[in-house]
Structure formats: structure tokens, C-alpha cells
Subunit: 407 residues, 2 copies
């Protein structure tokens, strides 16, 4: 697999207090790579999560949804190569057995063990391999790095994706680190991916959930590769509390703003890394919509542009075809007035007041589109609504990857 031309190096992530990582080979496919990952947390770790809105979710998603209500976590196990989705009772039993085995090994309640699986849909997770795999990962706890985990949770990913930030809560420095996988079947609500964020901050589950949900709305729910949404989308955040700060219980706690901003930063970084590994991507596209009726309308319009195959292929071809942006604004169904619309590529305004700008010079636009980082700006001209979303271009690479993935 060729590494995406938009790849970013994996950051330097040191150990986070309160979590140990182990990886192992369960052998879900005919390969020798690590494909099962276990994060084990110290007692007292709180948890929050955002999960796919698919009406046909995997058993792992259902299991997470149920167990999130407890608010505490001791482990999460991640399987790569088999999504276990649409596998009926057999698949449900495998997920239950794997998490029960992890709980037995860790000596904790099974309700504190989370799970996520990614890969082909429709093949039940083989229970024997899943149980043996998590046992091997348990035996390896403490030996795997964050980089190892990022590699072990990937499937069609072409590079390991991680992010790390720090924040000050009072006089205590806390760290937030995360890894994520995803490159296709990526669309909002939320993006199709598995993401895991761990902080050593002490955060009550309810506030962790509120901060994660808010961060999600401006990160994972604002990216799209192909408009498709998986049955397995999962982002979980864990707070071990090992840093020793005074617990953040709600938005009024001292340092809560700093923590929420740091969490949003990590989520935004991880989300954009997923776009940078979009299947076949050759260009990263940031879409800014301003002047819509309200923020919701701006997001609908921005996603209409971001999901348009015609816009995405035009960018792939380096073609300043702003007419296709007009088309995408028009089809979004939100309030728009053709004669107030303005469009820019990079810093160059190409259209305003319902037509091409007088004396339009395509040269600076062509130069911008020849680069790897593309900006499309649209001003609807009606109100104050704004949105920012991120996508990639649509290339022959996407077709090659997806027309022959399962075989």
C-alpha cells in the first residue's frame, strides 16, 4: 500500500500515566501483523464516547452504548480486519466473550471493558481468535507504544495517525493523546473511524462526555471522504486521573475551558489526519462557508460541496471549475441567493454577485490548485452562519482501492 502523499509523521507520544498498551496477533486475516490492541486503565478512569448513528450498528457499538452509561472504564480492546458487523447472534457472542475474557484477566467488571472492531462486514468475529488475541495482548501490556497501537488498529490506513497536546489545569499540566484509524467509509455523523483518546487528567464522566460531544461536532462530524458512514464508528475518550488535578466536574470547574479546548484540538488534529489518509487522496481540501442563514445551514452547504463527486474530481484535476461549487450550493437545499454568492479558491475571489468577477485571472487559482492543500471559500451573503469542513479529492486511487477491496 502506497503511503498517502498527504501523510504526516507520527508525533512523539510518551507514556500517559494510568494506561498501559499491549498489541498482539489474533490472525483475523491471513497476515502476521498485530491486529488486536488492548488499552488497560487504572481504577478510577472515567470514559465518554460518540458512536455511529447507523441504524445497523455492530455489536461492539451496541456494547459500548450500553456500558458508557456506567461512566468508568478499565480497558478497551480493538480488533482490526473484521468489523463483526451484521453477524447476528454469533457476532454478539464473540464480542461478549472477548470482553468477558479481558475482564477476567484484569479482575474487573465486564461493564468496564469496551470494544471496537473494524474491517469487513458480515463475517462473525472468530471467538477463539478474539479470546486468544486479547489474552496475548494482555500478556504484552506495557510493551506497546502509542505508535504501535496506531499501527495495530489500522486496516486500509496508509500511515499511523496520532496526536498529542497538553493543557494546564490550575498548576497541573495534563496530557491528552490519541490515535485514530480510518480512510474510507468516512462521513459525518460521525466520521467512519475508530478513535481512542486518553488523558491523565481527572475528569468526571459527565463533563468528559459533554466536552467530547462538543469537540466531535466541530471535528469528526465535519470531515468526509466519500459520504459513506460505517456501522462501527466509535470514538472513546478515557481520563485516568493520574495527573492529580482537582477533578473537572462541569464547565464551571477551574481549568475546564483549557481542558475542553485541548480535547477539541486533539479531536481536530485526528479528524484532519483521517482526511489526509482518505482513500486515493492527492489533495486536502478545507471548505469554509460563511454568510449562511445559520451555522446549521452553513454546515449542510459545506458538506454538500465536500461530498460532491464533481467538485472532488475537479480538484483532483486541478481544474478551477467553480461552477460545480455553485451546483453544490444549489443542491444543498438551504437558503441561497444566486446573485449574492461569492466563491474563492485560496485567496483569490473567482465569482461574486452571481457571476465571474470582472477581469478574473485564472493563473493564481491554477497555482493554488496545483498544491496539496486547497481552500474553497463560499460566502452565501445572507446571514452570519458559518462552518468549516474538511475533505479530500476523488481520484483513480479511490476507485482502485474500493473496486477490489474484499477479494
Amino acid at each position: 500500500m502506497t503511503v498517502s502523499p498527504l501523510a504526516r509523521p507520527f508525533p512523539d507520544i510518551a507514556a500517559i500515566s494510568g494506561v498501559r498498551i499491549g498489541t498482539a496477533t489474533a490472525g483475523y486475516k491471513a497476515w502476521t501483523r498485530n491486529d488486536v490492541t488492548l488499552f488497560a486503565f487504572d481504577p478510577g478512569t472515567s470514559v465518554a464516547g460518540v458512536l455511529t448513528r447507523s441504524r445497523c450498528p455492530s455489536p461492539e457499538v451496541e456494547l459500548c452504548r450500553t456500558r458508557l452509561a456506567n461512566g468508568t472504564a478499565r480497558a478497551v480492546v480493538i480488533n482490526a480486519g473484521n468489523s463483526n458487523a451484521f453477524t447476528g447472534l454469533t457476532g454478539r457472542q464473540a464480542a461478549a466473550a472477548q470482553t468477558a475474557h479481558a475482564a477476567a484477566l484484569l479482575g474487573c467488571d465486564v461493564g468496564a471493558v469496551f470494544a471496537a472492531s473494524t474491517g469487513v462486514i458480515g463475517v462473525p468475529l472468530p471467538q477463539d481468535k478474539a479470546v486468544a488475541g486479547v489474552e496475548a495482548a494482555f500478556a504484552a501490556l506495557g510493551s506497546a507504544s502509542w505508535h504501535d497501537a496506531a499501527n495495530a488498529i489500522g486496516t486500509t490506513d496508509t500511515f499511523a495517525k496520532g496526536a498529542i497536546v497538553t493543557a494546564m489545569i490550575g498548576a497541573t499540566r495534563v496530557t491528552l493523546a490519541g490515535v485514530i484509524k480510518g480512510s474510507g467509509m468516512i462521513a459525518p455523523d460521525m466520521a467512519t473511524m475508530l478513535g481512542f483518546i486518553v488523558t491523565d487528567a481527572k475528569v468526571a464522566p459527565t463533563f468528559l462526555q459533554a466536552a467530547l460531544s462538543a469537540a466531535n461536532a466541530r471535528s469528526f462530524s465535519c470531515i468526509t471522504v466519500d459520504g459513506d458512514t460505517s456501522t462501527s464508528d466509535t470514538v472513546l475518550a478515557f481520563a485516568t486521573g493520574a495527573a492529580g488535578n482537582a477533578e473537572l466536574t462541569d464547565a464551571r470547574s477551574a481549568g475546564a475551558d483549557a481542558f475542553a479546548a485541548a480535547l477539541a484540538d486533539v479531536c481536530g488534529q485526528l479528524a484532519r489526519l483521517v482526511v489526509r489518509d482518505g482513500e486515493g487522496a492527492s489533495k486536502f481540501i478545507a471548505i469554509a462557508v460563511d454568510g449562511a442563514e445559520d451555522d446549521r445551514a452553513a454546515r449542510v452547504i459545506a458538506l454538500s460541496i465536500a461530498n460532491s463527486p464533481l467538485v472532488k474530481t475537479a480538484i483532483a484535476g486541478g481544474d478551477a471549475n467553480w461552477g460545480r461549487v455553485v451546483m453544490a450550493v444549489g443542491k444543498a437545499g438551504e437558503a441561497a441567493d444566486r446573485d449574492r454568492l461569492a466563491i474563492r479558491f485560496g485567496n483569490t475571489e473567482v465569482a461574486a454577485n452571481g457571476m465571474v468577477v470582472p477581469g478574473y485571472d485564472e493563473a493564481p487559482v491554477a497555482a493554488h490548485l496545483a498544491g496539496q492543500d486547497i481552500e474553497i471559500g463560499v460566502d452565501i451573503g445572507l446571514g452570519q452562519g458559518r462552518a468549516r469542513v474538511w475533505t479530500c479529492d476523488l481520484t483513480h486511487g479511490y476507485i482502485s482501492i474500493n473496486a477490489d477491496y474484499r477479494s
Copy 2:
């Protein structure tokens, strides 16, 4: 341009009483082909139409919307190579001038002259060429065949598309013929295309509109190539009345059922021809959804499948990846119960009750997917709602055509 492997031969369409056709070269692009088409109707012709729901429509669409209220038509002029969309006042003036010139030549009110343009967005229709072009087409009235018209209205189309049916209204045989263009930027409400249907039946405008709207709901609004919707979608139906039947004034008129069924037949044939010319298409895909909560939900689910890049690339690769169908059902947002879902490819059931069928044999499915005409059937298992939609696969050809179209 390579002809689509899914092409169908142009049918034998004889002259329809009450309409004359002329084609000419306006020279909207650097080519020598015919690119302006004029249909001239005898006095007493009624008209109905369905138009794009884009919030940024072309001036031709606005002009049609206004003039449809009159209910009568004497002509429609169609320009190919320039959509005149998003061209401000200059574009509006060009459309007004071209139709006014046609009205002067025909000696009729300008409100009875319709227009449609297709091609690049954002370049004003050159008024001098548009006026000279329609004058040349007027001079050629009566010399062009339906096949000539189908060729002259095309842009990226790879084959001429037409359909003809007849119906009995009492003892009078009436004929309905149509031509259509469209191959990309094709998505419902309604499909991105220009379509023109003429019948010699005598039909009151209100009933013609009702019958066309009903036919549209099950034809042009049920096809998708890429989920994109143009600024110029237009389907117009004209009834010259030359056949001499007793006028159809409403659904209770004798023969109204037969006429409506024939109109729906023509619309369905034309709509499916557009899919058969889908950009880069190598396979025609019919999607049948049954058992949804209601027909509306069934259509949303069917279009979610039809618009999924992952489903479309799987079909392109001949891959029986029914997990992607599950994904598309799940993301549609309509009521679905994973454990009641059943999926078939062709006549072979592959999944039922939330998992693969026992003893599933991929051989007959692989054989079906190796063909050109693919059927995907989904039973939601909840209610009586049903829908049928049509699409094509997503191939390297789509990328090649669209990554370098405008240049």
C-alpha cells in the same frame, strides 16, 4: 468519446403531427456540430414541465418556470455546450433575447417560447451566437429528425437517447416521443438532464402537468449517477392535439389512464437511458427496496444505496460485498432493524435475519455481478413501503471524464 457499453439503439421515431424540428450550429464551443435545436409547435399546443430544485438555477429554468403558468407553447430552443447558469444579468439578457427572436420569427407571444441550456456553468451564453443560432434552426425547421435532435442536445452524452410509445384514447391512437440528454451531474429531485417529450394527443395543460409530475416521481426522480444535481434540470412535455382525440381534461377523462401510463412509460425509458450513459458506467444497477415503513422511507433507503460510492465501486469490481449494502441501509436514517434485513443480488439471497444465509454460495452471485445488468434487492422487513431506483457503477471512467472536463 467511447460509446457507453450500456448504450441502446435509437428507436425509430417518425414525425409527430404538430411539431417541426430544426437544428443548427451556433458555435458555443470550438466545434462544427449542431448545438442549437428548435422544436416549433402548432397553435393550440399545451405544455407541462418539471424543473430543478436547485437554489441557484439557470435563467432558462427561471424563464420556463414563469412561462409554464401560461399552459401553452409554440417553441422550445435548446442550447448545448453552455449552460448559461450563474452568469448574472448578461446571461438573463441572452436567454430573453434568444427566445424573443424565436417568437418574432414564429409570430407568437414570447411567453410561449421555452428554453433550456446545458454545458459549462459560469460563462454567459453569447447573445449574438444564440440569436443567429436560433434563426438558423428556424430556417431548418422540418429538416431535422428526432435522432438529429437527440444528437444536437447532447454534451458529454456518448449516445443519442430517445423513446416512443403509443396509447389508445377512445378510438384514437396517440403517439408520445421523447429525447433526453444527460450523463453526469445526475441525481434526483430531479435527475440532471434536459428532456423533451412531444405527443400528438390533445391534453389540457393542468392534466398534462399532473401526469408529468406523477411520471417524474417514478422515473427521473428515481435515478442517480453521482448524487449531484445540476442548475439546469428541465423536462418539458408538449401536447400538440393533432391526433384529434377528445381532449383529456383530468384523470376522469376517457383514456386518461392510458395516456398517463404511456407518459410514465416514456419517462421511465428515458430516465433509464440516462443511467445507461452514466459517466464511466460499465454496469446498470436496479435497486429494489421492499418492506420499508412506507414508500418515502423505501426511496430514501434505495437512494442511499444507489448513491453510495462504496456500493458502486464494489459493483464495478464485481465484488459481492453485501456488507456495503448494509452500511448504506444503516446510514439512510430511516427505520431499519438489522436483524430483519434481507439482501439479494440478482435472484440469490445472500443475507437474511441480520447475517449471511446459511450455506451461502457466492458462485451464482459472482456470475450475476459479471454481467452488465445488476439487481440489488433489499427487504427491510418492517412494513409495506417499496421503491425502485436505478443507477450505474462508479469506475475509473467517471474520474477520467470529470477530473479534466472543463480544460
